[in-house]
Protein backbone atom coordinates (compact mmCIF):
# COMPACT_ATOMS: atom_id res chain seq x y z
CA UNK A 1 0.00 0.00 0.00
CA UNK A 2 2.73 2.44 0.96
CA UNK A 3 4.76 1.56 -2.12
CA UNK A 4 1.65 2.06 -4.22
CA UNK A 5 1.12 5.50 -2.70
CA UNK A 6 4.78 6.37 -3.21
CA UNK A 7 4.43 5.27 -6.80
CA UNK A 8 1.41 7.49 -7.37
CA UNK A 9 3.20 10.42 -5.67
CA UNK A 10 6.31 9.99 -7.82
CA UNK A 11 4.15 9.89 -10.94
CA UNK A 12 2.09 12.96 -10.02
CA UNK A 13 5.05 14.96 -8.74
CA UNK A 14 6.58 14.78 -12.20
CA UNK A 15 3.50 16.03 -14.06
CA UNK A 16 2.35 19.66 -14.30
CA UNK A 17 -1.21 18.60 -13.41
CA UNK A 18 -0.66 18.37 -9.66
CA UNK A 19 0.78 21.80 -8.93
CA UNK A 20 -1.46 23.56 -11.43
CA UNK A 21 -4.48 22.05 -9.65
CA UNK A 22 -3.06 22.85 -6.21
CA UNK A 23 -2.49 26.48 -7.26
CA UNK A 24 -6.13 26.81 -8.34
CA UNK A 25 -7.34 25.20 -5.12
CA UNK A 26 -5.08 27.40 -2.96
CA UNK A 27 -6.38 30.53 -4.67
CA UNK A 28 -10.03 29.55 -4.28
CA UNK A 29 -9.53 28.56 -0.66
CA UNK A 30 -7.75 31.88 -0.01
CA UNK A 31 -10.63 33.72 -1.69
CA UNK A 32 -13.12 31.86 0.47
CA UNK A 33 -11.21 32.85 3.62
CA UNK A 34 -10.95 36.45 2.40
CA UNK A 35 -14.73 36.44 1.83
CA UNK A 36 -15.31 35.10 5.36
CA UNK A 37 -13.45 38.18 6.64
CA UNK A 38 -15.68 40.39 4.48
CA UNK A 39 -12.80 41.07 2.08
CA UNK A 40 -10.84 42.70 4.87
CA UNK A 41 -7.67 44.03 3.19
CA UNK A 42 -5.46 42.19 5.70
CA UNK A 43 -6.93 38.86 4.57
CA UNK A 44 -5.36 39.34 1.13
CA UNK A 45 -5.94 36.26 -1.08
CA UNK A 46 -2.50 36.40 -2.72
CA UNK A 47 -0.74 36.60 0.65
CA UNK A 48 -2.79 33.69 2.03
CA UNK A 49 -2.35 31.47 -1.03
CA UNK A 50 1.40 32.13 -1.35
CA UNK A 51 1.96 31.37 2.34
CA UNK A 52 -0.03 28.15 2.16
CA UNK A 53 1.79 27.00 -0.99
CA UNK A 54 5.27 27.77 0.38
CA UNK A 55 4.50 25.74 3.51
CA UNK A 56 3.10 22.85 1.44
CA UNK A 57 6.09 22.81 -0.93
CA UNK A 58 8.48 22.80 2.02
CA UNK A 59 6.61 19.98 3.76
CA UNK A 60 6.61 17.81 0.63
CA UNK A 61 10.21 18.72 -0.23
CA UNK A 62 9.15 19.95 -3.67
CA UNK A 63 11.60 22.31 -5.41
CA UNK A 64 10.26 25.57 -6.85
CA UNK A 65 11.14 24.56 -10.43
CA UNK A 66 8.90 21.47 -10.14
CA UNK A 67 6.11 23.64 -8.77
CA UNK A 68 6.57 26.20 -11.54
CA UNK A 69 6.37 23.53 -14.26
CA UNK A 70 2.70 23.26 -13.33
CA UNK A 71 2.02 26.83 -12.21
CA UNK A 72 3.53 28.36 -15.35
CA UNK A 73 0.19 27.97 -17.13
CA UNK A 74 -1.31 30.43 -14.65
CA UNK A 75 1.77 32.67 -14.85
CA UNK A 76 1.42 32.76 -18.64
CA UNK A 77 -2.02 34.38 -18.39
CA UNK A 78 -0.44 37.58 -17.03
CA UNK A 79 0.13 38.51 -20.69
CA UNK A 80 -3.44 38.24 -22.04
CA UNK A 81 -4.76 39.73 -18.75
CA UNK A 82 -2.59 42.80 -19.30
CA UNK A 83 -4.01 43.14 -22.82
CA UNK A 84 -7.54 42.76 -21.40
CA UNK A 85 -7.03 45.90 -19.30
CA UNK A 86 -7.68 47.82 -22.53
CA UNK A 87 -11.40 47.08 -22.15
CA UNK A 88 -12.21 48.83 -18.82
CA UNK A 89 -9.87 51.56 -19.98
CA UNK A 90 -11.87 51.99 -23.16
CA UNK A 91 -15.14 52.11 -21.22
CA UNK A 92 -13.80 55.07 -19.18
CA UNK A 93 -11.83 56.62 -22.00
CA UNK A 94 -13.75 59.94 -22.07
CA UNK A 95 -12.91 60.59 -18.44
CA UNK A 96 -9.29 59.55 -18.95
CA UNK A 97 -8.97 61.97 -21.90
CA UNK A 98 -10.34 64.85 -19.83
CA UNK A 99 -7.85 64.12 -17.04
CA UNK A 100 -4.93 63.42 -19.37
CA UNK A 101 -2.47 66.12 -18.27
CA UNK A 102 -2.94 65.77 -14.50
CA UNK A 103 -2.71 61.96 -14.88
CA UNK A 104 0.55 62.27 -16.80
CA UNK A 105 2.10 64.62 -14.22
CA UNK A 106 1.00 62.39 -11.31
CA UNK A 107 2.43 59.41 -13.20
CA UNK A 108 5.90 60.95 -13.58
CA UNK A 109 6.06 62.14 -9.97
CA UNK A 110 4.58 58.93 -8.52
CA UNK A 111 6.85 56.69 -10.56
CA UNK A 112 9.96 58.69 -9.58
CA UNK A 113 8.94 58.52 -5.92
CA UNK A 114 8.50 54.74 -6.11
CA UNK A 115 11.89 54.09 -7.72
CA UNK A 116 14.12 56.44 -5.73
CA UNK A 117 12.50 55.85 -2.33
CA UNK A 118 12.68 52.06 -2.72
CA UNK A 119 16.36 52.17 -3.68
CA UNK A 120 17.53 54.73 -1.12
CA UNK A 121 15.64 53.47 1.91
CA UNK A 122 17.20 50.04 1.37
CA UNK A 123 20.68 51.50 0.80
CA UNK A 124 20.59 53.85 3.78
CA UNK A 125 19.58 50.99 6.07
CA UNK A 126 22.56 48.91 4.96
CA UNK A 127 21.04 46.86 2.14
CA UNK A 128 23.40 45.64 -0.60
CA UNK A 129 23.34 47.38 -3.98
CA UNK A 130 22.12 44.18 -5.65
CA UNK A 131 19.07 44.00 -3.38
CA UNK A 132 18.39 47.75 -3.63
CA UNK A 133 18.52 47.60 -7.45
CA UNK A 134 16.14 44.64 -7.37
CA UNK A 135 13.76 46.78 -5.28
CA UNK A 136 13.85 49.85 -7.59
CA UNK A 137 11.25 48.70 -10.19
CA UNK A 138 9.00 46.99 -7.60
CA UNK A 139 5.88 49.02 -8.46
CA UNK A 140 5.91 47.97 -12.13
CA UNK A 141 3.97 44.89 -13.14
CA UNK A 142 5.90 41.60 -12.93
CA UNK A 143 7.19 40.95 -16.47
CA UNK A 144 8.28 44.59 -16.85
CA UNK A 145 9.99 44.80 -13.46
CA UNK A 146 11.88 41.55 -14.07
CA UNK A 147 13.07 42.81 -17.47
CA UNK A 148 14.33 46.07 -15.96
CA UNK A 149 16.23 44.39 -13.13
CA UNK A 150 17.94 42.07 -15.56
CA UNK A 151 19.28 45.07 -17.49
CA UNK A 152 20.56 47.04 -14.49
CA UNK A 153 22.30 44.25 -12.60
CA UNK A 154 19.78 43.13 -9.97
CA UNK A 155 18.23 39.68 -9.53
CA UNK A 156 15.08 39.29 -11.68
CA UNK A 157 13.54 36.48 -9.63
CA UNK A 158 14.13 38.44 -6.41
CA UNK A 159 12.37 41.37 -8.09
CA UNK A 160 9.42 39.06 -8.82
CA UNK A 161 9.12 38.48 -5.07
CA UNK A 162 9.36 42.22 -4.29
CA UNK A 163 6.73 42.95 -6.94
CA UNK A 164 4.31 40.53 -5.30
CA UNK A 165 5.03 41.88 -1.80
CA UNK A 166 4.55 45.48 -2.99
CA UNK A 167 1.28 44.45 -4.62
CA UNK A 168 0.05 42.82 -1.43
CA UNK A 169 1.08 45.81 0.71
CA UNK A 170 -0.56 48.31 -1.63
CA UNK A 171 -3.74 46.22 -1.78
CA UNK A 172 -3.82 45.96 2.02
CA UNK A 173 -3.01 49.60 2.85
CA UNK A 174 -4.24 51.46 -0.23
CA UNK A 175 -7.87 52.23 0.52
CA UNK A 176 -7.25 52.78 4.22
CA UNK A 177 -4.38 55.19 3.63
CA UNK A 178 -6.18 57.13 0.91
CA UNK A 179 -9.29 57.44 3.08
CA UNK A 180 -7.00 58.85 5.81
CA UNK A 181 -5.79 61.66 3.52
CA UNK A 182 -9.46 62.24 2.60
CA UNK A 183 -9.20 61.10 -0.95
CA UNK A 184 -12.81 60.45 -2.01
CA UNK A 185 -12.65 60.28 -5.79
CA UNK A 186 -12.60 56.64 -6.96
CA UNK A 187 -10.64 57.54 -10.09
CA UNK A 188 -7.83 59.09 -7.97
CA UNK A 189 -7.88 56.14 -5.54
CA UNK A 190 -7.70 53.64 -8.40
CA UNK A 191 -4.89 55.51 -10.14
CA UNK A 192 -2.74 55.71 -6.99
CA UNK A 193 -3.34 52.05 -6.11
CA UNK A 194 -2.59 50.80 -9.64
CA UNK A 195 0.54 52.91 -10.00
CA UNK A 196 1.88 51.67 -6.67
CA UNK A 197 0.81 48.05 -6.66
CA UNK A 198 0.09 47.01 -10.29
CA UNK A 199 -2.17 43.96 -10.85
CA UNK A 200 -2.63 42.88 -7.24
CA UNK A 201 -3.68 46.44 -6.40
CA UNK A 202 -5.93 46.48 -9.47
CA UNK A 203 -7.68 43.30 -8.33
CA UNK A 204 -8.37 45.11 -5.02
CA UNK A 205 -9.41 48.34 -6.80
CA UNK A 206 -12.10 46.44 -8.74
CA UNK A 207 -13.60 45.61 -5.31
CA UNK A 208 -13.84 49.35 -4.54
CA UNK A 209 -15.66 50.10 -7.82
CA UNK A 210 -15.48 49.42 -11.54
CA UNK A 211 -14.23 52.98 -12.04
CA UNK A 212 -11.43 52.52 -9.47
CA UNK A 213 -10.51 49.28 -11.23
CA UNK A 214 -10.35 50.94 -14.66
CA UNK A 215 -8.09 53.74 -13.41
CA UNK A 216 -5.96 51.26 -11.52
CA UNK A 217 -5.49 49.21 -14.69
CA UNK A 218 -4.59 52.38 -16.58
CA UNK A 219 -2.03 53.40 -13.94
CA UNK A 220 -0.58 49.90 -13.93
CA UNK A 221 0.00 49.97 -17.68
CA UNK A 222 1.36 53.53 -17.68
CA UNK A 223 3.65 52.93 -14.73
CA UNK A 224 5.00 49.81 -16.39
CA UNK A 225 6.04 52.04 -19.30
CA UNK A 226 7.25 54.87 -17.08
CA UNK A 227 9.35 52.63 -14.79
CA UNK A 228 10.96 51.02 -17.84
CA UNK A 229 11.91 54.50 -19.10
CA UNK A 230 12.90 56.08 -15.76
CA UNK A 231 15.01 53.40 -14.05
CA UNK A 232 17.79 53.43 -16.70
CA UNK A 233 17.76 57.26 -16.66
CA UNK A 234 18.00 57.33 -12.88
CA UNK A 235 20.94 54.99 -12.60
CA UNK A 236 23.23 57.99 -12.00
CA UNK A 237 21.20 58.83 -8.87
CA UNK A 238 21.41 55.28 -7.57
CA UNK A 239 25.06 54.95 -6.61
Amino acid sequence: MTTKLTHIWVYLAASPLLWLTVTLIAYQAANWVSQRFNFHPLANPVALAVTALVILLNLTGTPYTTYFDGAQFVHFLLGPATVALAIPLYLHFDRVKKMALPLLAALVIGSTTAILSAYWIARLLGGTREVALSLAPKSATMPIAMGITEKIGGLPSLTAVFVVLTGILGAMAGKLLLDKVRCRDDSIKGFAIGLTSHGIGTARAFQISEMAGAFSGLAMGLNGLMTALLVPLMMRWMG
Binding site: Y67, A86, G126, V164, L169, V181, D185, A192, T196
Partner: protein, 118 residues
Amino acid sequence: MLGAITILLLFQLAGEVLAQALSLPVPGPVIGMALLLAALVLRGSAPDEIRRTANNILSHLSILFIPGGVGVMLYLPRLAQEWLPILASLIVSTMLTLIVTALVLRALLRRKDRENAA
Protein backbone atom coordinates in the same frame (compact mmCIF):
# COMPACT_ATOMS: atom_id res chain seq x y z
CA MET B 1 -15.16 33.20 -25.07
CA LEU B 2 -12.81 31.44 -27.48
CA GLY B 3 -13.04 34.29 -29.98
CA ALA B 4 -12.28 36.87 -27.31
CA ILE B 5 -9.28 34.93 -26.01
CA THR B 6 -7.96 34.62 -29.55
CA ILE B 7 -8.24 38.38 -29.94
CA LEU B 8 -6.38 39.01 -26.67
CA LEU B 9 -3.60 36.61 -27.71
CA LEU B 10 -3.41 38.17 -31.19
CA PHE B 11 -2.93 41.64 -29.70
CA GLN B 12 -0.35 40.30 -27.27
CA LEU B 13 1.46 38.64 -30.16
CA ALA B 14 1.40 41.87 -32.18
CA GLY B 15 2.77 43.68 -29.11
CA GLU B 16 5.58 41.14 -28.66
CA VAL B 17 6.53 41.35 -32.34
CA LEU B 18 6.60 45.16 -32.24
CA ALA B 19 8.62 45.20 -29.01
CA GLN B 20 11.20 42.81 -30.46
CA ALA B 21 11.34 44.39 -33.92
CA LEU B 22 11.81 47.94 -32.60
CA SER B 23 13.74 46.78 -29.48
CA LEU B 24 11.39 48.80 -27.26
CA PRO B 25 12.03 48.88 -23.49
CA VAL B 26 8.36 48.04 -22.91
CA PRO B 27 7.09 44.43 -22.75
CA GLY B 28 4.84 43.11 -25.48
CA PRO B 29 1.62 42.76 -23.43
CA VAL B 30 1.65 46.47 -22.52
CA ILE B 31 2.02 47.39 -26.20
CA GLY B 32 -0.74 44.88 -26.94
CA MET B 33 -2.97 46.70 -24.45
CA ALA B 34 -2.27 50.04 -26.15
CA LEU B 35 -3.00 48.51 -29.58
CA LEU B 36 -6.29 46.98 -28.40
CA LEU B 37 -7.32 50.29 -26.84
CA ALA B 38 -6.55 52.07 -30.12
CA ALA B 39 -8.55 49.44 -32.05
CA LEU B 40 -11.57 49.85 -29.73
CA VAL B 41 -11.43 53.65 -30.02
CA LEU B 42 -11.30 53.39 -33.83
CA ARG B 43 -14.15 50.87 -33.84
CA GLY B 44 -16.21 53.04 -31.52
CA SER B 45 -17.55 50.22 -29.31
CA ALA B 46 -16.44 47.15 -27.35
CA PRO B 47 -18.14 43.87 -28.45
CA ASP B 48 -20.13 42.15 -25.68
CA GLU B 49 -18.19 38.91 -25.91
CA ILE B 50 -14.83 40.56 -25.35
CA ARG B 51 -16.29 42.63 -22.50
CA ARG B 52 -17.54 39.53 -20.73
CA THR B 53 -14.27 37.65 -21.22
CA ALA B 54 -12.17 40.60 -20.00
CA ASN B 55 -14.40 40.88 -16.96
CA ASN B 56 -13.95 37.19 -16.18
CA ILE B 57 -10.17 37.38 -16.45
CA LEU B 58 -9.80 40.66 -14.57
CA SER B 59 -11.98 39.55 -11.67
CA HIS B 60 -9.35 36.86 -10.97
CA LEU B 61 -6.30 38.99 -11.65
CA SER B 62 -4.77 38.09 -8.26
CA ILE B 63 -4.28 34.41 -9.02
CA LEU B 64 -1.86 35.25 -11.82
CA PHE B 65 0.68 36.60 -9.31
CA ILE B 66 0.72 33.49 -7.15
CA PRO B 67 3.29 31.41 -9.13
CA GLY B 68 5.77 34.33 -9.05
CA GLY B 69 5.02 35.02 -5.41
CA VAL B 70 5.76 31.45 -4.38
CA GLY B 71 9.29 32.18 -5.68
CA VAL B 72 9.78 33.82 -2.29
CA MET B 73 10.81 30.35 -1.05
CA LEU B 74 14.04 30.58 -3.09
CA TYR B 75 15.07 33.76 -1.31
CA LEU B 76 14.14 33.15 2.31
CA PRO B 77 17.81 33.10 3.48
CA ARG B 78 18.59 36.31 1.58
CA LEU B 79 15.45 37.99 2.89
CA ALA B 80 16.35 36.93 6.44
CA GLN B 81 19.83 38.38 6.03
CA GLU B 82 18.68 41.81 4.80
CA TRP B 83 15.20 41.83 6.29
CA LEU B 84 15.33 45.34 7.76
CA PRO B 85 16.34 47.33 4.65
CA ILE B 86 13.98 45.22 2.52
CA LEU B 87 10.98 45.47 4.81
CA ALA B 88 11.46 49.20 5.45
CA SER B 89 11.93 49.90 1.75
CA LEU B 90 8.82 47.93 0.75
CA ILE B 91 6.54 49.40 3.41
CA VAL B 92 7.67 53.04 3.40
CA SER B 93 8.13 53.31 -0.36
CA THR B 94 4.71 51.74 -1.02
CA MET B 95 2.94 54.10 1.39
CA LEU B 96 4.85 57.12 0.11
CA THR B 97 4.07 56.30 -3.54
CA LEU B 98 0.36 55.85 -2.78
CA ILE B 99 0.07 59.16 -0.95
CA VAL B 100 2.28 61.25 -3.26
CA THR B 101 0.46 60.02 -6.37
CA ALA B 102 -3.01 60.60 -4.93
CA LEU B 103 -2.23 64.05 -3.51
CA VAL B 104 -0.49 65.29 -6.67
CA LEU B 105 -3.35 64.07 -8.83
CA ARG B 106 -5.98 65.59 -6.54
CA ALA B 107 -4.20 68.96 -6.40
CA LEU B 108 -3.84 69.10 -10.19
CA LEU B 109 -7.47 68.12 -10.78
CA ARG B 110 -8.67 70.79 -8.35
CA ARG B 111 -6.57 73.42 -10.09
CA LYS B 112 -7.97 72.33 -13.41
CA ASP B 113 -11.55 72.53 -12.07
CA ARG B 114 -10.91 76.07 -10.79
CA GLU B 115 -9.48 77.10 -14.16
CA ASN B 116 -12.49 75.64 -15.94
CA ALA B 117 -14.87 77.41 -13.57
CA ALA B 118 -13.07 80.75 -13.95
